[in-house]
Symmetry: C2
Subunit: 425 residues, 2 copies
């Protein structure tokens, strides 16, 4: 199988490094791409489930812009809605009627919703939600999950990170995922002081296996929040619209007070939303919160078109189904090579790991070999399915995966473990 090279990406990256911190920063930084020579750094164009890099290489994309691409790149229905809105107006001196239409649609669509609010970043909404929780309760403390990611604001990043000072995280209480007893302990240790509990619908950190909620977990958390008057906030930025069109809380069968959406909501057009219960609407209204482009009309038109299309085709079900088919196939291909490919999280945004090498080096090698053959994914982050992935994409990916396993060479599980033990000594 032909493997790609990336001369133009690498040349452009050298230019980037002259004028941009890290060259490329944040979640798109090449730093966790190992080896970097196996990955494209710059994308030239996209269409459906595919993107093409600046060297002209074509990829089946399993990162989906790290979530925003959900219906396919340059989706005709979404792009037409945007084009029409742009013709009228985009960022104007007052909001466009599309804002009201979108809010009404979300309130109808999302389980238990009473209001909607729009911004640009997922982190805009997680910060806003914690401010609402504090304003509504008159309390300071926020409970979050250890290793949970809610954006880049200081309070989210946690102590020890560059630029974060102790006071930023003084009111954060971090507890383990799926640990109701830890929440009860936190409540007992800070009686009447906890304003909000924030978490993702299930635990999807990077570099480690993802974890679904244990039986009854969310129902117990909801019960404790009710008992203590704590605002229950769900960060549905990553899972949102990939599990259930009504919000991931509907998938897991519980009702939060506030839900933060971003990524998949607009198929790549920049919009985030906070959706809350009717009871929280007045509390939200008290907190002053705004931004220069938050009333931009085109992404609202994109979101309305994206959500309607996802509903029409039952996008979440398709992504779960195709994700499962892909994962079953990949696991089988791995087994054929004597390897154990473990998949965790939901099949529409799965985390994968070859368990035969605990250092993740073998897994990194395999991801790199797949990418340089045209199936793009990273080793450290969950993948994303889209409604644009086809049966042909899946088959092609299995073929690539097979060839990639051949390329990295394989040893039996026992041998690999022995090597690991030897490495550690």
């Amino acid at each position: 199988m032909k493997t790609y090279t990336f001369a133009k990406s690498q040349a452009l990256f050298r230019r980037a490094a002259q004028v941009i911190p890290c060259g490329i920063y944040g979640h798109m930084s090449p730093a966790p791409l190992v080896p970097p020579t196996a990955y494209p750094f710059f994308a030239a164009r996209g269409k459906g489930s595919r993107f093409w890099d600046v060297d002209g290489n074509e990829f089946i994309d399993y990162m989906c812009a790290y979530g925003p691409m959900v219906l396919g790149y340059n989706h005709p229905v979404v792009d037409e809605a945007v084009r029409k809105q742009l013709e009228q107006g985009n960022t104007l001196t007052a909001p466009a009627p599309i804002m009201v239409e979108l809010a009404e649609y979300l309130v109808e669509l999302i389980a238990g919703a009473g209001f909607a609010y729009f911004a640009k970043n997922g982190g805009d909404m997680t910060s806003y939600a914690t401010m609402i929780a504090r304003s509504a309760t008159g309390r300071k403390k926020i409970v979050a999950i250890k290793g949970g990611y809610h954006g880049v604001a200081s309070w989210m990043q946690g102590g020890g990170h560059h630029g974060v000072v102790d006071e930023d995280v003084e009111n954060m209480i971090r507890i383990p995922w799926n640990d109701v007893a830890a929440f009860e302990k936190a409540i007992a240790r800070h009686p009447g002081q906890i304003a909000g509990f924030i978490a993702t619908p299930y635990h999807h950190p990077t570099f480690v296996d993802n974890e679904l909620p244990a039986e009854g977990y969310w129902q117990n958390i909801r019960r404790l929040c009710d008992r203590e008057g704590i605002v229950l906030i769900i960060d549905d930025v990553r899972c949102g619209f990939r599990l259930d069109i009504r919000g991931s809380h509907a998938y897991f069968g519980f009702q939060p007070d506030l839900v933060c959406f971003c990524k998949a909501i607009g198929n790549g057009y920049p919009i985030s939303a906070l959706v809350g219960t009717k009871k929280m609407q007045n509390e939200a209204a008290k907190v002053f919160y705004t931004g220069s482009y938050w009333f931009q009309a085109a992404p609202m038109a994109a979101a309305l078109a994206t959500l309607k299309e996802l509903k029409r085709i039952d996008g979440p079900k398709r992504m779960l189904d195709y994700g499962k088919r892909l994962l079953d196939g990949l696991t089988e291909v791995a087994r054929h090579h004597g390897l154990d490919l473990k998949t965790t999280g939901a099949p529409s945004l799965p985390y994968l790991r070859l368990t035969d090498d605990e250092t993740l080096m073998q897994h990194q090698d395999w991801c790199a070999e797949c990418t340089r053959r045209g199936a793009y994914f990273t080793s450290h982050h969950n993948w994303f399915m889209s409604a644009a992935h086809t049966a042909e994409d899946l088959q092609r990916t299995l073929d690539i995966a097979d060839d990639a396993f051949k390329a990295i060479g394989t040893t039996s599980k026992g041998e690999r473990r022995a090597t690991n033990r030897a490495r550690k000594k």
Copy 2:
């Protein structure tokens, strides 16, 4: 002169209030629009210097979407650049080459620039800048100006606001504008503890007169920052590209370490930028900072086209010149009616106030009467000029202003003051 009515705006607002906190929130909230019946709440479309509301009323726009509109709504050059980029790709799994081109262009354009970094909100950049300052210095305290606005994050809003807790603002030191001695005092009180000084290029709060820097102010602040190793951060979100295409610090003749841009940079397409000196690039690289849509290519294409067009036509000079012509004209019209219209700040983003009534009620009435005649501005916020405003727009605005003064009725300055004194008793 015909006056507008707003039945459709008001009906739409009633719908909005059912599903959106405050109906319309933040800086676009109708709350400071007095009386609300004089203002449109929803905009249907825009073209050049004009927008049309949902009732079909046409306005010469002096709010310019509160800053983002700088070349005119639906500007053909910017929109064509966006259309071309969208055809290729928008939010992809890796950044597009336009990111490097834009960074290179900004580093060339902005005085003293060594790097550029992109996000969505102005507040993304002011928060990032303070994190960089803290990371670079190992210190905690941030000095800011009393009444200065840098976005909606808790640390910016200040204590006492809904959702803000004491710890959020514990490291903020607020000093008066134009007060070098106050900065020296803050340094003496917190020796070796101040990480950064953040301020706008001049002081432009709402509801009160704006203030330009006193002679030597910025040079003195720069000198003290150098002496103490404090990172000097300019929030150029509002002034940026309306005073000098090289950044407002070039207009006032000093060199900051970090400059935050937003609003005018993309003519309404959502992008913000942090530009810093070469020395700060490595410090910026240490702080983890990112967002779902920050690599979106279309707004980068918009920004490159906007900046090139602003440079080609010397947009800032045009906005300063046309602003001055408009303000001179309005002042003269007011004088003709026996009133003192005071203008402060730069003519490209002036703050206006009728001084004859300290309660601002007369000024509110006049703004309302102008708006319902087709010249849109608010009474509490600085206006924004754009490069799309024409000589005909200015003349039409003077005619509207004249008719609006007739409508509110006028009394002599002496009488008005006597009335004010009587009111206060």
